[in-house]
Symmetry: C2
Subunit: 797 residues, 2 copies
């Protein structure tokens, strides 16, 4: 094995890339952005330093992060210059979320900020407002955030910049996405795994991602790994990931400007060449994307030393480099010297507007990076062309007599969606598309795969639009980037392992929540999860694969954002999927089985049931025309099956008992109407569940979630929930429900225990149910499989 070297890439690049006027222009822009960044952190008045700086000009609470900011401003200035020269359609992703001041400052210099927020003009008063609102109560956050024009990435939680960048670049062949990766962020697992994304980027149909690894040496208090490993190791690491790294390193502004300009010339040329060759001649072997390693001091251009302690170039400049400026006149003087060092009088005119020379490198209109329409994806969003999901309906002549694999049926529909939307629909999953029985997708497309292919490979192609990598983080990050830039998609995942992206879901939910209140941010397609291979059918994998708690996690998010669906069979899954794919600005969680399971509803009934979200299944109920003695409620495919089997037993053994079967597809219907847009009114809830009859609720997930949703309901005291209570192993499907007391026999026992005034016959039935449990347990332990009458159960009515 031999690694290539890019010694050449680190060597001086001959000639001067920037003529003196260009050098001057870029330096003006950079100084202006740095001035505006520091101003945001410190000033609430006297924005242009037209008078000596006094304590009352300083914000009472200094909140923000300076350390990464000047480096980001440097990158942005150089990218803008290239865009202006080349006309490149370019976004940037700001991995160091702490660089919020840079994102705001550059957007204001570009004019984008004032177009987005007219109250913050490009004048003295506008600058004052810009400074004041940053990290100020009622203002804007300290990070690049939904409020920040030109951003699709909230960098507060580190790790996802490169994945977002690649998601944005998919199916945008003319787009270049510059992804600034902080060296802190680079230590995270998700970012470390995101380097693999380059192996899935198709130079023909996708745009280019330009990673800019920004090494400023420190995190909050400690050094970063990548800034301290030997130079040859860093080169090897990046080359090993398939990149050709170019290094821009130093602290002297002029030399750094020259080098950055030269390197950007090279890498943007390389990207263009690489794309042209691939597009003209088809895939031509190995693709090696260029990238940039930028080494610059943390807190660059900020205070060098304060009170005898080094600030610039150390971790001490991470946040606010000078903290006592309101109380310490010496510190106030240092701040004033620092700010005046940018020479604001050269940068802004008498009205506070940037002088033309300082913004000469800014591109026009939507070419401004801060105004790139891809960063407000809703602007570009088109409705999916939706084939008719009813064409995929399974025939259901009678409930629960036939069986289907729900996700396999869905796979046919998704295939048609994929075929009808060749440019803006992708399916992500950690190598589980076939395992989750969505394999018909591969009739319309392939798995994305740029590396070598060998005999026996299954549906691999560079232009594939099923994205499989064994990283839930990358799947999620790709999809987020794809959706935020105005496209559509679906993430199919094993239910238990979607917890791997819990924290990413939080951040996306927060993004959507804030975006809804920003009129200029247009709605985007919902983030759709299909969770299959769920808790009840981990026959192969056992306990580690059994966790239905993702629902609990998402329902903590803002009700306006989250939707949870538990379609009980194939046709209801089709109707649910159709609804979700058409929706906007939600996180839709759909949980459905992949194993063969009964069909309950024909398509018309499935559509009506899904539209209502919850309903009485009259065909399974025996309470016609009167209040029931008991309600059997259910949500989820396996609980629905057990509930119906219990209803059948009650019908057989206690024919006089009035049993109502209620199935819940849309879990949010259980919440009060005041708490969720889908919540049922109290009267509607009571009409279904009754105010006083015992309700035995068989639930897919942790049972207490149903209580958390219904504790304010009239009949809550009579509600008894069965669900997963963290008991499991590799075993048979029926043994799993028995382990958690969700089985049909236990449900019947629950009914007998809770319906008052039942006969002696009921007591005997209870004993019989216990015997049946023992029979099943014994059979399973003996034969390793469920008893035939359990496996082959169908509804007799």
């Amino acid at each position: 094995m031999a690694a290539i070297t890019t010694a050449a890439a680190a060597a001086p690049i001959g000639g001067r890339s920037l003529a003196s006027d260009e050098l001057n222009g870029i330096d003006l822009y950079w100084r202006a952005a740095n001035y505006l960044s520091a101003g945001q952190i410190y000033l609430m008045d006297n924005p242009l330093l037209r008078e000596p700086l006094r304590p009352e000009h300083i914000k009472p609470r200094l909140l923000g992060h300076w350390g990464t900011t000047p480096g980001l401003n440097f990158v942005y200035a150089h990218l803008s210059r290239q865009v202006r020269r080349r006309g490149t359609d370019m976004m940037w992703i700001i991995g160091p979320g702490h660089g919020g001041p840079a994102a705001v400052a550059t957007a204001w210099l570009d004019g984008t900020y004032s177009e987005t927020y007219p109250e913050v003009g490009r004048d003295t008063e506008g600058m004052r407002r810009l400074f004041r609102r940053f990290s100020f109560p009622g203002g804007v956050p300290s990070h690049a955030a939904p409020e920040t024009p030109g951003s699709i990435h909230e960098g507060g939680e580190l790790g996802y910049s490169l994945a977002h960048a690649h998601g944005a670049a998919f199916d945008n062949p003319d787009l270049v996405v510059a992804a600034v990766i902080g060296d802190g962020e680079a230590e995270t697992g998700p970012l470390a795994g995101s380097w693999f994304a380059g192996r899935f980027a198709d130079p023909v149909r996708d745009g280019a991602v330009l990673p800019i690894l920004h090494l400023n040496g420190y995190k909050i208090a400690g050094p970063t790994v990548l800034s301290r490993i030997p130079e040859r190791d860093l080169a090897a690491l990046l080359e090993g990931h398939g990149y050709r790294p170019y290094v821009v390193s130093g602290a002297d502004p002029e030399a750094m400007h020259q080098r950055m300009a030269a390197v950007l010339d090279i890498v943007l040329d390389e990207i263009a060449d690489l794309q042209r060759r691939a597009r003209e001649s088809g895939p031509t072997g190995e693709v090696r994307w260029p990238m940039i390693v930028l080494r610059s001091p943390k807190g660059w251009t900020g205070p060098g030393e304060v009170d005898g302690v080094r600030i610039e170039g150390t971790w001490r400049s991470h946040q606010v480099p000078l903290t006592d400026v309101r109380s310490d006149p010496a510190h106030l003087r240092i701040l004033e010297e620092w700010l005046r060092g940018y020479r604001p009088e050269e940068l802004f005119d008498g009205d506070g507007a940037p002088v033309p020379e300082s913004t000469a490198l800014v591109p026009e209109g939507p070419l401004r990076i801060s105004a790139n329409p891809h960063a407000n994806g809703g602007l570009l969003l088109r409705d999916l062309a939706m084939p008719d999901f009813r064409d995929h309906a399974v025939q259901v002549p009678s409930p629960a007599r036939t069986s289907s694999e729900a996700t396999r049926v869905l796979g046919g529909f998704l295939r048609d969606v994929m075929a009808a939307n060749p440019a803006d629909f992708r399916v992500m999953g950690p190598d589980e598309t076939a395992s989750n029985r969505l394999g018909e997708l591969f009739q319309a497309t392939d798995r994305a795969w740029d590396l070598d292919r060998v005999a026996g490979d299954d549906h691999l192609a560079p232009e594939g639009r099923v994205m499989e990598v064994l990283s839930e983080h990358l799947c999620q990050g790709w999809l987020e980037g794809y959706l935020l830039t105005g496209r559509h998609g679906l993430f199919n995942c094993y239910e238990a392992f979607v917890h791997i992206v819990d924290s990413m879901v939080n951040q996306h939910a927060k993004w959507l929540k804030v975006s809804r209140d920003l009129p200029w941010r247009r709605p985007i397609a919902s983030l759709n999860y299909l969770l299959s291979s769920h808790v009840w059918r981990q026959d192969h994998n056992g306990f580690s694969h059994q966790d239905p708690g993702f629902i609990d996690h998402v329902v903590n998010k803002k009700p306006e954002i989250v939707r949870v669906y538990l379609p009980p069979d194939a046709n209801t899954l089709l109707a649910t999927a159709d609804h979700c794919l058409r929706s906007r600005d939600y996180i839709n969680v759909v949980i459905a089985g992949k194993q063969s399971a009964p069909d309950y509803l024909d398509m018309d009934r499935a559509i009506a049931h899904c539209a209502r979200g919850v309903g009485i299944w009259e065909w399974a109920s025996t309470d016609a025309g009167r209040e029931p003695d008991v309600v059997l409620a259910c949500a989820g495919d396996v609980p629905t099956l057990e509930t119906l089997a219990a209803a059948q037993l009650l019908r057989d053994y206690l024919p006089g008992l009035g049993v109502r079967v209620v199935n819940v597809v849309d879990l949010m219907r259980l919440l009060p109407a005041e708490e969720h847009p889908h919540g049922l009114a109290g009267s509607a809830y009571d009409a279904l569940f009754t105010p006083g009859a015992p309700v035995i609720f068989a639930f897919h997930g942790y049972p207490w979630l149903i209580h958390r949703l219904t504790y304010r309901r009239t009949g809550h005291d009579h509600l008894h929930v069965r669900g997963y209570k963290e008991e499991g192993t590799t075993t048979t499907p029926f043994d799993m429900v028995m382990l958690n007391d969700l089985d049909r026999f236990h449900l019947v026992m629950d009914v007998i225990d809770r319906v008052p005034g039942l006969s002696v016959k009921a007591a005997r039935l209870r004993q019989h149910m216990q015997d049946e449990r023992l029979r099943c347990r014994t059979h399973t332990r003996e034969y390793g499989d469920d008893a035939p009458d359990i496996r082959d159960w169908t509804w007799r009515g």
Copy 2:
């Protein structure tokens, strides 16, 4: 930049490492392990094939994973041979969790399995039981799991093998931990980020980790990235991570045995040399650990081709390579040929025991890898030497008149714990130890750091025992590995970002839950979280850093395992920490602020309060001697402050109102006694919270969690909870509580709205409270800070 090359490492290594008897011995062991692995997947009878294979010998449900198994057996055989020759103390970590059959087979061959489970002897009946119990109802899981001797790693969820291995090696200077990493696993973010762990491994005080990257080419259905990238890229990648990779590649068993033996000779020598040099001469510059890249066919030695389709060497051998053996006689024949191909008659004697030649390479007693005591860490666990936490008490002459930074006080105690336990206590955190104000730790130790150090660095040393890397995954994985091998520790983390490891917490909770029912697995130290920089004090960082939902996540786990503590001040935090550090087999979540906040309890009262977990604060209550008109309950530091301020307001304005203040430290006390070991009996709960008075509960987290814990309590209908409802941004502390209606004024309004029969005075107070909210909001929006009377509030009593 120039990358090193290890072309030499890939070249043939001269000579024959194995003499023919050794080669024969290792091949016998490997064949025996492979036979036993396949037997586990398929057979429920006729274990030694003493009669022709018939359908009834086959399990009705074939559950398990063959693909990775023969490679694991190969690795294990060679590691065992080395241990026997060298006497090395060695563990292995099985990254490919799907290799359960290999872990079980080798433990049985070693004799460990039968010692652990005497009912499964090393004889024919034992082998029959071994086969039958695998992935069988009532048996053992399909993965390496707690039930598996010699394992600390449930590989069902991929990504954590390398982090676990490093955690196991810390402070175990004589241990070698061989970590087999699957090429599927290698695509995950957490694993990709775990390569950085090598940069923190101290050759002097830590043991060695030997990564064995096992490339068998495929995941479930697709190829793996690392198996298909160019060879030079793979080398560069691993070298870039600081390793010296040696390649063992091929399919021919004899050649592979020779090569693996030779490479293991080299790498184990290199490790020993590297350690000896470092230990003799101190750190001597760059450390470059050796590692192995093993390329072998997926499903190696399994069926080559079935029905014209290639199986061995492809993704089709991932799970069960032949599925229809019970119904298809041709497939049954192939299975029989496959199994007989291992020549069981040469491997096992007439009684079914392994012949001596097939286990000649197995080391003795605890040197057997499957019997390594580190893999049952409780065996080695020693109690921490515990300094007296009361020495760190803050003086509290009167409640809520003085202030402390709770975590800073804790830092002093942790410093003493660190100093008193120099060999088995570590603190992990993503670069937040100082930020979370635990900086006094650095008086006792440093941050672990093996790379270069420069002027201005803060407390870095190779032997440091504060582990900081900006990867929550690595912190968690390190700590899990450390605890599972019998040591102690603490993970300090920003509250919002502990969600990053939600799924790892699931797996550890499952491990603990299963382990508790295995008498041979001894208790280990609890996994302790200190969550600071919490939701209410993200003044700098805003919405992305605001999420208190980790509590919701952990309370879904088995009640026997999880504990959640919300100490309201410094002394209660000290008492809580002392308790947690002494505990076993729990996941303790402690949430505490780092900002200056009131002290409520002196140390004696703090100890008593923590021992009860929940109690009435009489000094703050006005209900002495009678039933209160209202209960103000609180959990968490900020809610406690607002509750007391509300109590003060009620005292001032409605002096006749009987107010009881109840503080909850141990959240699990709220659950019914039947549902959690800490749950209060109904009578005790009612005595605190009353059966009928309105309860206004100010909670640290999402409010519905309190309802989920208390819905069965008598007074639940009268319970009204305020908490975080996903409203936030960068703003002041008081503005944050106002945004979420948790502020003192709103709590008073809640009281007035819920206590019946209050006077007109109360109505006026309600209006006053609304005015106060407006005053505070206006002040904050104007000045960017909280009003002075809010900032400087103290209890007047």
